[in-house]
């Protein structure tokens, strides 16, 4: 990956709020990130940390109301996706930006054949005729490793297994040669041996097609295997962001460090007891006025309750949103 390359996707200060009866839920708070051509950005976080909502906000996929994308900019292809009209947005979605959802059963339409669902984006975005679309659809199924592709085009989603369905989803997302592929927990619903197949497929496809990928997951193991850079989210915010080796080798945010300690591994030392993160994730009603992790944090101090920490740049592409400097073991001055 060339370091100086211009980002394909640049998101600045994205803010999404849901209006609910309990008040305004601040699901995404000033999230910024950029994606370079050809790289794979991993986004990790627990449920409710805002990782999916972030991606859906930038493509305008959230129903409004209740969702309200308040702030920020999403630069893609020379345009700000938050400002363009619906029509332009529609041409981007499924065209230059592909999306793979978590559950392949609910995101494929059960009453259309896989072939029809694959041909749809080809005809809409690429202006292909029926014949061209069918030929390309077959190519795509072969690309994602579905055997007997020509015959399988006529099958309905229920005739595919979970792993095969996810391959179909990936094929649909790849249909129009996207520059960016957003994959939202694409392997969470799959078994480990099938997950290994999909991860392997993803590696091959990236080598072949060279698109940039955003991979959302809660599984740090998956991230360790495929990501170039990682963004850790908590309470709707980016709490840490670093190249993958740096994040696992030198985690700076107390949440990242705790998270890495809580997961047991199948190699290496077996801990007599699992380290736990006490307490529950925050309820994000009202704008954040303090660090969202402070109640569960082992190094929190008085400033964490007063202010929400900004992202401190630690150099070499590593930044973290914490007032406590893990390297010096003391609060930051600035």
């Amino acid at each position: 990956m060339p370091d100086g390359a211009l980002p394909v996707l640049d998101v600045q200060d994205l803010k999404t709020v849901f209006r609910t009866r309990a008040g305004e839920v601040h699901a995404v708070n000033d999230v910024s990130f950029s994606l370079k051509p050809g790289e794979l950005l991993g986004v990790v976080g627990e449920s409710g940390s805002g990782k999916s909502v972030t991606m859906m906000s930038l493509l305008g996929l959230l129903p409004s109301p209740p969702a309200d994308v308040r702030n920020g900019s999403v630069n893609f292809d020379g345009k700000d996706l938050l400002k363009v009209n619906q029509e332009t947005l529609r041409s981007v979605r499924g065209g230059k930006i592909g999306f793979v959802f978590q559950d392949p059963m609910t995101s494929l339409n059960p009453v259309f054949t896989v072939g029809m669902q694959l041909a749809e984006p080809l005809r809409k975005h690429m202006g292909m005729n029926k014949k061209q679309a069918a030929a390309r659809a077959q190519e795509l199924l072969e690309l994602v490793g579905i055997p007997d592709a020509k015959r399988r085009l006529l099958d309905y989603p229920h005739q595919f297994s979970g792993g095969m369905r996810q391959r179909v989803m990936i094929a649909i997302a790849l249909a129009c040669d996207p520059k960016v592929l957003i994959a939202d927990e694409p392997t969470t619903a799959l078994d480990v041996t099938i997950q290994a197949q999909i991860l392997e497929l993803m590696k091959e496809l990236r080598e072949k097609l060279g698109m940039a990928v955003i991979w959302i997951t809660h599984d740090l193991g998956v991230i360790a295997g495929i990501a170039d850079r990682v963004m850790v989210m908590y309470g709707g915010q980016v709490v840490e962001h670093a190249p993958v080796k740096e994040l696992f080798g030198n985690p700076q945010h107390p949440y990242t460090r705790a998270l890495l300690k809580t997961i047991p591994t199948i190699h290496g030392e077996r801990a007599a007891r699992l380290t736990i993160i006490e307490g529950q994730p925050p309820i994000m009603v009202g704008p954040p006025s303090s660090c969202p992790f402070r109640d569960r944090c082992d190094v929190a101090f008085e400033r964490c309750a007063r202010e929400n920490p900004p992202r401190y740049d630690l150099g070499e592409g590593h930044d973290t949103a914490c007032f406590f400097d893990a390297r010096t073991g003391a609060p930051r001055d600035v």
């Binding site: 099938i194 197949q197 360790a224 997961i263 006490e278």
Partner: protein
Amino acid sequence: MFDTDKKPLVAVRDLKMHFPIFAGLFRSRVGEVKAVDGVSFDVFEGETLGLVGESGCGKSTCGRAVLRLYDITSGQIEIDGREIGSTPQPDLREMRPTMQMVFQDPQASLNPRMTVEDIIKEPLDEHTTLTDREKRDKVGELMDAVGLNRKFAKRYPHAFSGGQRQRIGIARALALNPKFIVCDEPIAALDVSIQAQVVNLLEDLQEEYGLTYLFISHDLSMVRHIATRVAVMYLGKIVELAPREALYAEPLHPYTQALLSAVPEPDPSLARATERIILKGDVPSPANPPQGCNFCTRCPQVMDICKTVEPDYREVQPGRFTACHLYNDTADATADPEANKSKTNKETIT
């Protein structure tokens, strides 16, 4: 590895659970789904037996069948010295207090119209003659034991988070002082940071009350943490059963090897260095399992014999059981004569 003084609390022999398939105009029986097809294992007192496998391999059905939540097709199940394999359902009631279950989805397994107190109290209502006051005290004790605030006793399940709901389910399972608890994917629906809380709680309770667990999970790293011994299931059969350390250090069955190598490791340098065994294809349907070994359609080390002869499930090293033709020659002296006989039979076939 096997302490002789350890006695099995649960002994399962050749357990089969087949579900009939009905089809056609007259709903006639056209076949059966062999969800569990001849499974044998022991669970020793005070240990945790991990039961792992992918979705559809029959691990949950196995757990439920052991507690006789189904009328099993055939086999013997001995729990705490009593054979319950063929006991009629009404007679099982008196056994229920000894054997309990914690379910996967805490949302679905708690009645939304009952308060937490009523949920935990229900087994006491059913099986004990305690007074109301005693029951309330017991509920309070149980809530303390699982780390729930007693003040929340009158609340409904929806007011609790996933992890707390799972604690309610655990308290209910503990109410009758059981000896044996089947934990069916108790942490699968929970967030990573909450999973560790529940696993630690289960371990504490095991120590405090001397519980024996059958811990069903698809999370191999968590099973490595909690289990004493681990059984691996594939398509209705146990393919390998071994003490934890031995299984993770040196898996014998090719399926176990592939399964372990597929687990993503949260360490970038390790994750990229290790060579993964990628299995081809999908699990065959349990309604129509392949001839010979169930794993022969995906096995990277498949031999001719695997496609015709089903491998025996036997002890290949002390305390290590596996069902694979690769280990036919390694039958050691401790193996019983029955196994040796079948081994020679097979050699003549090859």
